[in-house]
């Protein structure tokens, strides 16, 4: 399988802080990758690096095997919906559509107009008068009209109502299935990510602590339901504790196994939400790189 994005030991330093530390991840073509992390973990920085808005301090990112992020060849194939205020608010929706059309070689004007009409967004309305959700929809519409091979969405669901959120996820899945589009999106709504995401990159304090296919990750992780005394028998030599049920009990909560465990009554399957929370709460570091 070819990779849409190859991230190799990428670090990004700003003047006063290091936003990313040696992040390595591969995002396969045609996949839907969820980028999860707490606030300030470095998700937006990573997305800005992928889209070429920033350059890595160290390491390298390649798109579609050999293209540099931000190059003309890459920009023609990548669409980015940024988290906050992506479209000029002093213009009308129609202006924004015209501007996007002018800025791109490929732009499906019809589909953009149809989608906006379907969402009941008036082309003559000023962007500043739109709600947060409508602005997000406008930005997503402009991105989809470019028919990108890689769609990068920075928390697209945060300002949408539940119905719009469901519809958008369905629409994105449809695009993925129809055109083989690769999607990377960051979000805090982990329960909904599970419905569409095939891959997960989990960032904590600037490091990718988990990166890989979600099904495989779920297979290798289990929730432990026993006591602290029973824990050693279960995972000793076979797995590592990711999180504890409670600091005082010392009983593990989520355990990562090198080989998927079978037939143990004390272990139950994890959900993506369990997995994400376990790693986000995990206080130990120096695990030697992301789990894949």
């Amino acid at each position: 399988m070819t990779s849409a994005v190859q991230i190799e030991a990428v670090s990004r330093r700003f003047r006063r802080c290091t936003a990313l530390r040696s992040v390595t991840a591969t995002i396969p073509s045609g996949s839907v990758t969820a980028l999860v992390g707490s606030n300030g973990a470095g998700k937006t920085t990573l997305l800005n690096l992928v889209t070429g808005l920033l350059t890595p301090s160290t390491g390298a990112i390649s798109l579609f095997e050999n293209l540099a992020p931000g190059s003309l060849e890459a920009l023609g194939r990548v669409a980015y919906v940024a988290q906050d205020g992506p479209v000029s608010t002093s213009r009308t929706v129609g202006d924004a559509v015209h501007i996007a059309r002018s800025f791109n070689t490929l732009f499906d004007l019809d589909s953009a107009v149809v989608r906006l009409q379907r969402l009941d967004i008036d082309l003559k309305q000023r962007v500043s008068k739109l709600s947060g959700g409508q602005r997000a929809q406008l930005a997503i519409t402009l991105a989809l009209a470019r028919a990108p091979e890689l769609l990068v969405l920075d928390e697209p669901l945060s300002s949408l109502d539940p119905i719009a959120r469901r519809d958008l996820l369905g629409e994105l899945m449809g695009h993925c299935a129809d055109s083989g589009m690769t999607i990377i999106f960051s979000s805090h709504v982990i329960a909904e990510l599970e419905k569409i995401a095939s891959h997960l990159v989990l960032i904590k304090d600037g490091e990718a602590v988990v990166a890989g296919e979600i099904d495989e990750l779920l297979e290798h992780h289990r929730i432990f339901t026993g006591t602290a005394a029973e824990a050693g028998l279960v995972h000793d030599g076979h797995g590592s504790v990711i999180s504890q049920a409670h600091p005082l009990t010392l009983a593990p909560r989520v355990i990562r196994f090198a080989v998927p465990p079978t037939g143990n009554a004390l272990l139950v399957p994890v959900t993506l939400e369990d997995l994400a929370y376990a790693y986000l709460e995990h206080s130990t570091s120096g695990s030697g790189g992301p789990t894949t």
Partner: protein
């Protein structure tokens, strides 16, 4: 407006067609600022100035020409990129297929073109007003209030725009960029109105230019290069035709002048020069260095424009090719 939406793009257009496709988008994106340029260059103000000129306040012509780049720098240049950097809309614009360098280049080009188209005729109008009131000059192009020269108007406006845009990119906040640009322009203005310092600075440049015409010979072997009968501007050259500063003139030449010439210089009186035999002196008889002033400033303007553009692109960054070959990993 929005009723004109039509499907025009279904397949990629040729790679060379990005500029004509991009210009309408840039114009639409910066419509308010482009309209503001028309207001800043302000042809109605020129008419007001014309009234002042004919009322005798001659130098107000050049005053407006001086303020034009200030207005452009502060109100057009500073917010040009700072606004999108502050609001985050640059994330949308810079990730579009056209590439950020082309977008920035086209934006600057559109504004510079507009400023040139508007300020060049304004310069002609202002120069014409000066010419009408100063008939001793033989033609429009020898107008010595070089700030009002059409080329100078265009260059100074472009420099103002680029300087403001550069500070906008540096500070990435509209208000900060406005304040910084205003401060910078005030500093330049203070430098300019501190006349001796300004004059000495100009002479520092002029002295490094070669001379082809030595000017009117003085009895001590030096040459009177240019005599300005409406101010104390006197430019003198030494025997090799290089312009001397006033300090050099006062210390090295003035003591050796005959009393009559000293008197004429002190009285700043053109007729006296004629009477003393400096018959070659005419209003049109400028020293070559002074002829070169305009070209020098235009040359200086070109260098400044190039430096500002390079600085803006260095700060904007980007990985898309504009002039350079594409970069691959």
């Amino acid at each position: 407006m929005t009723a004109t939406l039509t499907r025009t793009v279904g397949t990629p257009t040729s790679k060379t067609s990005w500029l004509p496709r991009l210009i309408p988008g840039v114009v639409r994106l910066n419509r308010t600022a482009l309209i503001s340029v028309v207001h800043q260059v302000g042809h109605p103000r020129a008419i007001i100035l014309a009234g002042e000129v004919f009322n005798g306040t001659l130098y107000s012509v050049s005053t407006y020409a001086f303020y034009l780049p200030v207005l452009v720098a502060v109100f057009i240049g500073a917010p040009l990129f700072a606004r999108s950097l502050e609001t985050g809309t640059f994330r949308f614009a810079w990730t579009q297929g056209v590439g950020r360098r082309r977008l920035v280049a086209t934006t600057l080009m559109v504004f510079v073109l507009e400023l040139t188209v508007l300020s060049f005729p304004l310069g002609i109008v202002l120069s014409r007003l000066w010419f009408d009131l100063s008939p001793q000059f033989p033609g429009l192009w020898t107008n010595h209030v070089f700030f009002t020269d059409p080329w100078m108007m265009a260059f100074s406006s472009a420099i103002g725009l680029l300087a403001g845009a550069l500070l906008g990119v540096v500070f990435r906040r509209v208000l900060t960029a406005l304040a910084a640009t205003t401060s910078m322009m005030i500093a330049i203005y203070l430098w300019a109105i501190m006349f001796p310092f300004f004059q000495e600075t100009l002479l520092w440049f002029v002295k490094r230019m070669p001379s082809s015409y030595p000017g009117v010979p003085l009895e001590n072997g030096n040459f009177l290069a240019h005599y300005d009968d409406s101010s104390v501007n006197i430019y003198l050259t030494n025997r090799s035709g290089h312009v001397m500063s006033m300090n050099q003139f006062n210390s090295q030449i003035y003591p050796k002048l005959p009393q009559a010439q000293k008197l004429a210089l002190n009285q700043n009186a053109a007729p006296e020069f004629h009477r003393l035999g400096l018959q070659e002196w005419q209003g049109s008889l400028f020293h070559s260095q002074f002829h070169g002033f305009l070209m020098m400033w235009i040359g200086f303007g070109i260098v400044t424009v190039i430096a500002l553009v390079v600085a803006i692109f260095a700060l904007i960054g980007g990985n898309d090719r504009l002039l350079l070959r594409r970069r691959r990993l």
